[in-house]
């Protein structure tokens, strides 16, 4: 699945301490010990990220892992100490302040963990704020803001103030505000972490619905591995400022690169993550078969069917070529977490 690259960052570093730039010049790739000797804190270390057009790219890590710092380096809210950030092949770090302002006005949207709504503005004014800043005339910007408010399901609350809304509603305003300029890349910094679990679930569905409509390129930050699995096309797992592994949810579960990543994947219900492709027995015989299934189907979704059949199912590729078979036992192996019987 090859997508054109929207955003690329190469070897990005963010160090805190006395004169970090000079430190990075003398130590191009400092180890943890070197950092400690130079009394530096490595918030982001040698981060490489490639984000494709229309992809949901999730950066996952526990608090203090550097994920928020990394996304701020990508949006240049924080100046990285070293490295390269390219947006549509333009060097983001070389931009002048004026260019950066123009870029943010037209092409970037961002949602914040604690909503970051302006307390003195109404919902309508908050959503219209980025357009107001650009100098869009009032009737035009308000019309556009109303559209967005309707899209996120807050029609009728245009004249409310943020304090009059629940957390979930406030974040909908935050989402509407970040999308009002029709950005090409959409940063979400732990957007649902401050919400109750039930509301969080609802907002995740809403997020997927919006993405189905809008097809943005998305960088999504979370500390919640379940959330990452549920939303991501690809996940980058961070620890102590470094990206430990970048992979699709399925690869992460199947082949965790380190014990640290494995810790997270242990409790994930495999059936919901794995597709038939990764559990099928390759090669097809003559049959007969109980039916045909797609190789991208999730195990949990077809488990009933496979298990109920007394014969194996055939697994078909994207262009309907049969590539393998799957039987009830393989499905049950996944569901109860038994090591696959060879």
């Amino acid at each position: 699945m090859q997508r054109p690259l929207k955003m690329v960052c190469r070897n990005v570093w963010k160090l805190y301490g006395p004169d970090p730039a000079a430190f990075l010049r003398t130590h191009p790739d400092p180890t943890s010990d070197q950092l400690r000797e130079g009394s530096m804190i490595g918030a982001v270390r040698a981060a490489d990220v490639q984000i494709g057009q229309g992809e949901i790219f999730v950066i996952m890590g526990l608090s203090g892992s550097g994920k928020s710092t990394l996304v701020r380096c990508l949006s240049r809210l924080i100046e990285p100490t070293g490295g390269e950030v390219l947006f549509d092949d333009q060097d983001l770090l070389a931009m002048s302040e004026h260019e950066l302002i123009q870029l943010r006005r037209k092409k970037i949207g961002m949602v914040f963990q604690n909503f970051a709504l302006l307390p003195h503005l109404t919902v309508l004014q908050n959503v219209a704020f980025p357009l107001d800043v650009q100098g869009v005339p009032r009737p035009k910007r308000e019309a556009r803001a109303r559209e967005m408010i309707e899209t996120v399901g807050l029609k009728g609350r245009e004249d409310y103030f943020p304090r009059q809304l629940s957390g979930g509603q406030q974040q909908r305003v935050g989402i509407a505000r970040s999308l009002v300029v029709e950005p090409e890349i959409w940063f979400l910094d732990e957007p649902f972490s401050a919400l109750d679990p039930l509301i969080r679930r609802e907002m995740q569905d809403e997020f997927l619905r919006l993405q189905g409509l809008l097809k943005k390129t998305i960088v999504f930050i979370t500390h919640d591995f379940d959330e990452a699995i549920r939303l991501a096309d690809r996940i980058a797992v961070m620890k102590d400022g470094r990206i430990v592994q970048t992979a699709t949810p399925e690869e992460l579960v199947m082949n965790p690169a380190t014990d640290y990543v494995a810790e997270f994947t242990h409790h994930i219900p495999r059936g919901k993550v794995l597709s038939l492709r990764s559990i099928m027995s390759p090669g097809t015989g003559d049959g007969p078969y109980a039916g045909d299934l797609k190789s991208t189907d999730r195990v949990a979704d077809v488990a009933d069917r496979v298990e109920a059949a007394d014969r194996p199912h055939r697994v078909l590729d994207a262009d309907n070529t049969p590539i393998g078979t799957v039987d009830g036992r393989a499905v049950i192996d996944v569901l109860i977490g038994r090591k696959a019987s060879a």
Binding site: R72, S75, L77, I101, Q102, L103, R104, R105, K106, I108, G109, M110, F112, Q113, N114, F115, A116, L117, L118, P119, H120, L121, T122, F129, P130, D132, V133, Q134, D159, F161, R163, R177, S178, F187
Partner: protein, 665 residues
Amino acid sequence: MNWRRLIAPRALFWWGLLAVTWGLSSTSFQLYKAFDARWIIRFPKAWELPLETWISDAMRWLLEDATFGLFTFRELTRFISAIIEVPYDVARAALADGFVQGQGSNAVEIAPSLSWIAVIVIMVVLGRVARDWGLALLVGVCFLYLAIFGQWGSAMVTLASVVIAVPIGVAGGLALGILSFRMPWVERALRPVLDLMQTVPVFAYLVPILFLFGFGPVAALVATVIYAMPPMVRVSTVALQTVPPEVVEAGQMAGCTKRQMMWKVLVPSAAPTLMVGVNQVIMLTLNMVIIASMIGAGGLGFDVLSALRRLDIGGGIEAGLAIVVMAIALDRVSQAFSTRLPAEVKGRDLSYVQRHPWFATVFAVVVLTYIAGLFVPTVQDYPDAATLTTSAFWEDAMRYVNVTFFDTFEAIKDVFLTYLLLPVKRFFTGIPWAWGIIAAGLAAARVGGWKLGVMAALMTAFIAANGLWNKAMITVYLCGVSVLIAYAIGVPLGIWAGQNARAHRWVGAFIDTLQTLPSFVYLIPVVMLFRVGDFSAMIAVVLYALAPAVRYAAHGMRAIEPEMIEAGLVSGCTRRQLLWRVKLPLAAPSLLLGLNQTIMLALSMLVITALVGTRDLGQEVYIALTKANTGQGIVAGLSVAFIAIIADRIVSAMARHSKESLGLA
């Protein structure tokens, strides 16, 4: 309480210091006689710094010869006068005197001032807009009081000063606050200046201002703005710094330019905190406008001052009450604005009048009263015949109290003087200056490290070297005793209020009211009851400095984690044990901060009590003011500031230690 701590080795230092000081203090006179060394009790005249003369000469040079090339310093001060005077004259004409054309006896009135009805309506509407009809009623009653009790004219002169000084103070404070928010070096440069501004007694800068701007309302306004601005600078900086970083980032991601970020994101988000600053500016302005009546601000302050000078009991109380009433009204309205939520959005299809009903009402009332006032004088000016005076009542009441309770009051006063004030005074004034410098240095070094010790010793030496040792010790003694008493009353009150919701409400209301009163007002009843002297000064200072002791104690109690108390309860603490073993130790940092604030307020009030005849540094400043001797005023003012700074640093260091030992830092 662990009494054993008092004899622990750590405490021995303090006991030793106290013992040596006491020994030297009580024998200094004998020592002087025995060795025939007068330098022990008096700083040698020959060593005194001629700082006073230098400063006075410098001021004279500034005023007479200094020039910036294009214009002279005197032209600069005249220019400043002019830009303040023009709006002040307009405000004063609008509120009090009416607009006139021509000079002196040829003056023709071209338009009257706002009628009393219009002013009251404006204030009521402000109250309604700021919160609700309840507040509007309170404000209305306050201003009606001013009219009915014949204080209207003076009150409007005072209000005119407030109306001019507050916007200047707020705008200037906000501008400096924004500068120090944007540029860290400005903040670093401003911080010591602000510290000094808030510790130098107000009287002290009346002197140079009097010298530069002459006697009159403009000088008073300049002094007022200088006095009222520092807190606004601090509040603005803090308010801008505490805007959540996410909100700033949201502004950046929306593509705000620097200017848009300041005016569309930062300032509006910080608005509620900024309004707290505005409230402070208003209250300080009112406080200062009254003190500034000594250098030419008219109005209520002048009435109080002249009544005090004449010992006109009734008049003083009447004018004093008018100040209180006005202070309460302005305080409540400005506070309400700081907690006000943005108004609901009105429909867009309404007419201007429908969307702004209050503005329209005010406008209509102003026009109507103007027209009606041309024909019916009662509308324009509150009829004299209908004013009430309580002057005689107060006079009688005071006379009755004085006659009936004279002996009681005298007895109380004597007890305090004999057993508390005089011994403490003897102790402090007996300390030889040389030892005083050493002792201050040692104490400060012990608490806050050798740097603080050196600083304290140098500051104390400055006081001694200017020949102010004796007066400074009187200041220290009066301040010390007053703080002790204020603390002994305030902390239990605060502890009580901190543990009991209903007590908190009542004590809170009482303290709020005490804090609203301009410092000047405290002098009136005290002088009436106890006449002039140290005892009266002490009472006034105690009343004024009570508030922070109560407030910080209550805050300390309420800020204790409920879990800590629960932990104490399940361990089987009695109520007394809970208080002494759990709550008080946890509230210690808060109590120390309260002590710090109490000392600061006590010092600032102490200087004002020079008016009731103390012989301390305050008197020195006051004398300088009457003689317009800039050097003397500034040196004495700096001495007070140094005492304040030493006390502040020592107590802050103690608070810091106590916080660290609780793991709260």
